[in-house]
Structure formats: C-alpha cells, structure tokens
C-alpha cells in the first residue's frame, strides 16, 4: 500500500529577493527608480557634496575662533594676519560682541535683571506649554498680571532699583520683549476686533472692518512710521512717547489685525448650533462668546495663530529701520565697528543672527505641530 504524504508542519517562508528588501531595495525605489531619477539623484548628490564641503570649510575649518580685533579675521592685504586669499567665518567677532548682541547697551552691573526676567518667563511659560501640567488658569493669570508688572520694574527700574533708560536696551532682549508684548497685546485685541467684525451694530462692524483691512493692506513699515512719526504729532505739547513704546504700539496694532482675521476664520467655523444653544440657555452676548464660542474658535485655529506669532517674531526685525537696536539692528550696527570691520564680519554676524531667529521660529512651528496633533484640530479646522 502506497504511503500517503501528509504535511504536518508548514514550510518556513523563503527569503524575499534581495532586490526587494533592506537598503538595496530602498535605494532602488527611492533614489534610482529610473533614468530620470538616477540623474536627479546624481545631481543632488553633487550639489550636496559641493555645498557641504564648502560650508564646513568656511564655517569650521577656516574659521577663526579666538582673537581680540580684526587682524585675526583679515588677510595680509587687508591689514591682518591671515594669508592672502583666505576666507572663513570670524566667530571671534561674535564671541567678542555676544553680550552686546543679547543685552544691547544695558549696563553691565544691571544685567542680572533681564536674566531674572528671562528666568521668570521660562519658569511661568514652560508649564503653560506642556499640556499635561494642570492649573493652566492660575498659571495664565500669573503670567498675564503680576509678571508684566514685575518685569517692568526689573527692566526699567524704580522701587529702589536704578533706572535704565530704554535707549540703552537692545539686542535679543528687545527682540523678545517686542514679540512677547506684541503677542500678549494683540491677542486680546485681535479677539475683540474679530467679534466686532461680526457684530450686529453697524458702527462697530464697519469700524472693525476698516481697521483690519487698512492695517492688513499696508506694509508694517508704514505702520511703524505712523507710530514713530505721527503719534508725537497727535499728542499735546510736552507729551513724549518712549521710542520703544512707539515700536510696541506699531507692532501690536499690526499684529491685532492679523490675529483678528485668523480668529474670524475660527468664529465662522464654530457650528451655528453652538451659538443657538448658548442663546437658548439664556446666556448674555458676552457669556455666550466668552464661555462657548471663542474657546472653540481658538482651538480650531491654533495653527493659524502660531503662524501669525511666528510672523510677528520675524517682523520685529523691522524696528531697526526706525532706529531701534533689536538683535538684527545691533548686529548690523557692529559691522561698522572699526575694531572688527573685515570682509567676513557681516556674513558671520548675519549667520549668527539668522541662526537665532531660525531657532525660535522653527521651535514655534514644531510646537504648533505638536499641539495640532494633540488636539487633532488641524484637519477638521
């Protein structure tokens, strides 16, 4: 009797062909999918190789890290120590000016004050940004009421501290101050303007529309000029407005109009039944808006709000045009310093300033992405 074969165990699956698995297949699929892709990949590789080698060479290998004046960063023909034809980053310049880039001309012995304010800010802001930490309301209250008051006295002086006039302020400190105050002021005003734009009252509605559209239709620099040149004209004789305050007013006016448009998008996206439900509960206009509509609207447009904040942060660099020394302004001011003036100084200083700006903006956009995923409002919004 012939034996029948019955398989009792499964065969082990055989390996996938080498061309479809691992590195090789990945490279085939993503880099060498066809003649066109192969050429593109080769071109990109050449570009990357050329750029990266030159960048590393300029930024690190040829760079000058220590030195006390321009001679270390200038070639012999330019009156320095480097061989002719040399070019590299002059990090010694950034090192020598670093404190000035951060604090401007803020007096040396008082610099603990802005540092303390920055520390307080980090201490209060960090728990706000981590969604899992409780007591957000108390935290926000601390951040919005006592913190600005304390910061004002710490930075400006008074209450026993020596007064530091605002023209001495500068650098990264002013950039951060302008953006934080600008954001903090324009956010509530933006909400009010957005509500005003939807108001039933014609005067309020048309007033809000006119403000928003005019500000959004013109460049920030005209608004800054308006704040710095026209504002003094509008005030009674003898009244002067601090230059920093003028810039703050300009930045806040500008930011409010942009925030208002973002919030309006959110207000329009809140379903009508939410408005109606609130009204049927007998809530007043402000209760309805404050408790029901605005919180939902804000949640819907968080990405847009953060983008506007990033834009405001970048836009603060424009105050250097009306004579303020923010980070970019003070870096540029130092290109004129004869002790450090060399052909590579501007490039080095701008790369440093650019890196700082980039770090803040990139950080904000990554944080916005994180919150968006957390609330999962991005796609629905």
């Amino acid at each position: 009797m012939a034996e029948t074969f019955v398989r009792t165990s499964m065969l082990a699956p055989s390996q996938m062909p080498i061309a479809q698995v691992g590195m090789v297949s990945w490279i085939r699929r993503h880099l060498l999918a066809g003649p066109k892709d192969t050429i593109l990949t080769m071109l990109a590789c050449a570009l990357i190789f050329y750029t990266v080698t030159h960048l590393i060479n300029w930024l690190l290998v040829q760079a000058v890290w220590v030195g006390s004046d321009r001679t270390v960063c200038a070639t012999i023909a330019q009156g320095g120590l480097q061989p002719d034809g040399w070019s590299g980053a002059c990090w010694a310049f950034v090192g020598a000016k670093f404190e000035q880039f951060v604090f401007g001309r803020y007096p040396l012995e008082e610099r603990w004050r802005p540092i303390l304010v920055a520390g307080l800010l980090v201490f209060l802001l960090a728990p706000m940004l981590v969604p899992s930490i409780p007591r957000k309301a108390l935290n926000a209250l601390l951040l919005l009421v006592p913190f600005p008051v304390i910061s004002f006295f710490l930075l400006y002086g008074g209450l026993g501290l020596p007064i530091v006039e605002t023209p001495l302020w500068g650098g990264l400190m002013v950039t951060l101050l302008l953006s934080f105050v600008g954001i903090a002021v324009s956010f509530p005003f933006g909400i009010l303007l957005a509500l005003g734009r939807q108001s039933q009252l014609p005067l309020v509605r048309w007033g809000s529309i006119a403000f928003i559209e005019v500000i959004r239709g013109v460049p920030l620099i005209t608004v800054l000029f308006m704040a710095s040149v026209m504002l003094p004209l509008f005030l009674p004789v003898g009244w002067t407005v601090d230059h920093l305050l003028r810039a703050l007013i300009g930045v806040s006016l500008f930011g409010s109009a942009y925030i208002a448009e973002v919030i309006r998008g959110g207000l329009q996206a809140v379903p009508k039944r939410q408005y109606e439900g609130a009204e049927s509960l007998g809530l007043s206009y402000w209760q309805k808006m404050w408790l029901i509509v605005v919180p939902q609207a804000i949640k819907l447009v968080i990405p847009g709000i953060v983008n506007t904040f990033i834009g405001m942060f970048k836009d603060t660099s424009l105050v250097s045009i009306i004579g303020m020394f923010d980070l970019l302004g003070i870096v540029r001011l130092n290109f004129g310093d004869p002790v450090w003036a060399t052909p590579v100084t501007p490039m080095t200083g701008l790369l440093f300033a650019g890196f700082v700006f980039w770090l803040f903006c990139f950080g904000m956009s990554k944080y916005s992405g994180f919150v968006e995923r957390k609330l999962d409002t991005g796609r629905k919004g």
Binding site: H30, L31, A33, D37, L40, T41, A44, C45, L47, I48, Q200, L201, P202, L203, V204, G207, V214, G217, V218, P219, L220, I221, T222, F225, M226, V229, M230, P232, L233, F234, L235, P236, V237, I310, K314, D315, S317, L318, S320, I321, L328, R332, F335, P343, V344, P346, M347, L350, L351, A353, G354, F357, W358, C361, F362, S365
Partner: protein
C-alpha cells in the same frame, strides 16, 4: 409701573441698547478724533509746517540712482514719488515671477518620489520661511554683494556679464529702426495663437479630437518673429560692457540694492509658495488620480488634465495673499537704499516734515495695489473655480 421697572425695561430692549452703545461709541470716536486734530494742528503750526499737498510741486533736490523715468534733483517731490512707485512695481513684478517659478519647482519637488530631492526641497522650505526677510536682504547686500571685488577686478560671468561690488553689468539691448515692426509681428503671433486656441477648444468640444495647441502656438510665434527679425535686417544690437583699467564701460547696471532685494524677496516668498503648491496638489482627492489612471491616461496627462486644474482651485486664494505679502515686503527696500515708494517717501518726509500727507499717500497707494491684485486674482480664481451644476 415704577420708575425702576421702566428703566429696566429700557435696559433690556436690545435694539435700544444697541443704539445707545453706538451713539456713545460714535461720540467717543469723534471726540478722540477732534482732540487729535487739534493737537496735530497745533504741533504742525509750531513746527512751521503747512499741511496740504502743495509740497508735491516743490523741487525735490535729491538724486535717485537709475530712475525708470526722466528724473533729476530739480524734479518735483511728486515726480520723485512716481519714480518710487515705479520702482516698487518693478521689484514686485519681477519678484512675483521669480518666486512663483522657484516656489512651484520646490513645491513639486517636495512631492517627488525621489527621496533626496524631496528632502532637499523640504530643507529649503524650513530654512527660508523661518528667517526674517530683512535678514535675507542684508545677507545678500552686506554679506555677499558688498564684499565682491572692486569694478576693476570684476568677476567675469558667461554672456558678457560682469559682477562686482557696484552690481551686475550686462549687455544693454540697443534697438534700431524696424524693431517696432518685429514687435508688431510678435504681438500678431500672440493674437493668432489665442484665436487658434479658441478654435482648438471649440473643435475638441464638438468632435473630441485634440489639437497640439501649445506646441503649434509657440512654433508660430517663434517662427514668425524670427522671420520678421531677419527680414528687417536684425534691428537689434547690444552695447557690450567692456572692462577698462578702473571701471567697466558700456552695458546696463543692475545695482546691488535691487539684486539683494530681488533675491531675498523671491527666495523668501518662494518657500511659502512651495508649501501652498504642495498642499494644493495633496488636496486633490486620490480618487481623482486613480480614476484618471483607470481611464488609461498616461502619467503626464493625469497631471496636466486632472490634478493641476483641480489643485489650482486650492492654490490660487493663498497664492494671492503671498503676492500681496511680497508687494508689501518690497518696502524693505528702505533698509538697503533702493529707491522704492517708501524710501523716496521717507526722504521726502525728512526734508519737508509732511508726515501725515506722506503716510496717507503710502497707505492709499498700497491699498490700491492690494485691491488691484485681489481683483485680478479673484477674476482668475472665478475662471478656474468649480462650475457647480
């Protein structure tokens, strides 16, 4: 009914309350405006400044480098502002074209199946959109262009271009007799292509047969123009720049101010346009691509006939606001001394003290430019928008 009750009835009448709030608000706004006007009038009188637009007819007294229209320091402030406006429009128009080209290339590149290209394009976007445009302007102006060699050691580029710290010198076209005729033929060729495109569309709607409109039109325009050019005896020559001992003579110069502003604005705005283009293409539902493939269309036809027309509907509104942003950002010209509307206005403001008038002119012109761009883009948007049945 007691007095108290009557009051509360009035208070709770929302229409009445609305009127009351508006009257109060209107009065507050009017009184603030009145105080401001009083203060401004007083301050202007003390500073000996006559308000009004008479200053526009006064002699400007400052030079503008490379004006687009006839202008000397003896011209009026009004003419100076027109020169500034033309410069603003020049930088905005060239910047928009360049930013659109770079932005579309990078945006499509980000969706490339080639991993390396997609990463490179993503890197471009992340770097440029997180930097202040003013910093980019300075980067080109102070970091690169101003440290280029002196004119006598100019960098020689192909096509007789010379690059030095005074800008880019390129051969200047010199038209001679008969070029107008060639231009007329060129325009006629364009008109003919429009007629051709219309005929092709109607024929396709009727018979379903397609006609290679683009190829034929381009051929038509190029061939007609070339024939006319040769027939007229090549009525165009170039004034080539020549390197002398100390300077470069001949040719036309693009100043470093214009180049740095142009480069910064186009690179910056392109990073935003790239994101808009990517989002637009990704916003076309996958079913559309799959259906097109199922119909047997080849990949290029899927792109050009199905995906791109639908992506454009998503792309155009945000693209409009990017164009407006670029136009507004062209005001950064003042930082490098390119004589745009803001820079010329700023000089005028410093010389005459007519702050209110100058700022009013700025705002009016920028608002007009914004409205014009919006109207044009809305018209274009309406053309490509979905026609719903």
């Amino acid at each position: 009914m007691s007095v108290h009750n009557r009051m509360s009835v009035l208070m709770n009448n929302s229409a009445l309350r609305g009127v009351a709030i508006q009257v109060l608000l209107g009065m507050a706004m009017l009184s603030v405006a009145w105080v401001i006007a009083q203060n401004a009038a007083g301050n202007l009188q003390r500073a000996n400044i006559r308000s009004g637009f008479d200053f526009l007819d006064a002699r400007a007294g400052f030079e503008i480098a490379r004006p687009l229209i006839q202008y000397t320091s003896d011209s009026t402030y009004g003419r100076a502002l027109v020169v500034g406006l033309l410069n603003t429009m020049l930088i905005a128009a060239t910047g928009i074209v360049a930013a659109t080209i770079i932005g579309f290339l990078v945006g499509i590149g980000r969706l490339s199946s080639n991993w390396l290209i997609a990463r490179l394009c993503a890197l471009y976007v992340e770097v440029f959109r997180n930097l202040p445009p003013l910093l980019l302007v300075f980067f080109w102006y102070l970091g690169i262009l101003s440290v280029l060699p002196q004119p006598r050691e100019s960098l020689r580029l192909p096509l007789n271009l010379f690059l030095n710290n005074r800008g880019l010198t390129f051969p200047a076209p010199v038209p001679s007799e008969g070029l107008g005729g060639v231009a007329a033929v060129f325009v006629a060729g364009l008109l003919l292509s429009f007629v051709l495109a219309r005929w092709a569309r109607i024929r396709q709607a009727k018979t379903g047969r397609r006609f290679p409109t683009l190829l034929v039109s381009v051929g038509l325009v190029v061939v007609l123009t070339t024939v006319a050019f040769v027939a007229a005896g090549a009525p165009l020559s170039f004034n080539y720049p020549v390197a002398g001992t100390f300077n470069i003579t001949g040719g036309t110069v693009l100043g470093p101010e214009f180049i740095s502003l142009f480069m910064a604005l186009s690179f910056y705005t392109a990073s935003f346009i790239a994101e808009i283009v990517r989002a637009g293409i990704q916003g076309v539902p996958k079913g559309q691509t799959e259906a097109a493939k199922a119909l047997g269309l080849k990949p290029s036809a899927v792109m050009s006939l199905i995906v791109i027309p639908q992506a454009f509907r998503i792309i155009i509104p945000p693209l409009t606001s990017q164009y407006l942003n670029l136009t507004k950002n062209s005001s950064l010209a003042i930082a490098v001394g390119f004589s745009d509307l803001i820079a010329v206005g700023g000089t005028t403001l410093n010389q005459t003290g007519q702050a209110i008038e100058i700022i009013a002119i700025w705002m009016l012109i920028y608002l007009t430019l914004s409205v014009m761009t919006s109207v044009f883009m809305n018209w274009f948007n309406a053309k490509v928008a979905l026609v719903e049945r």
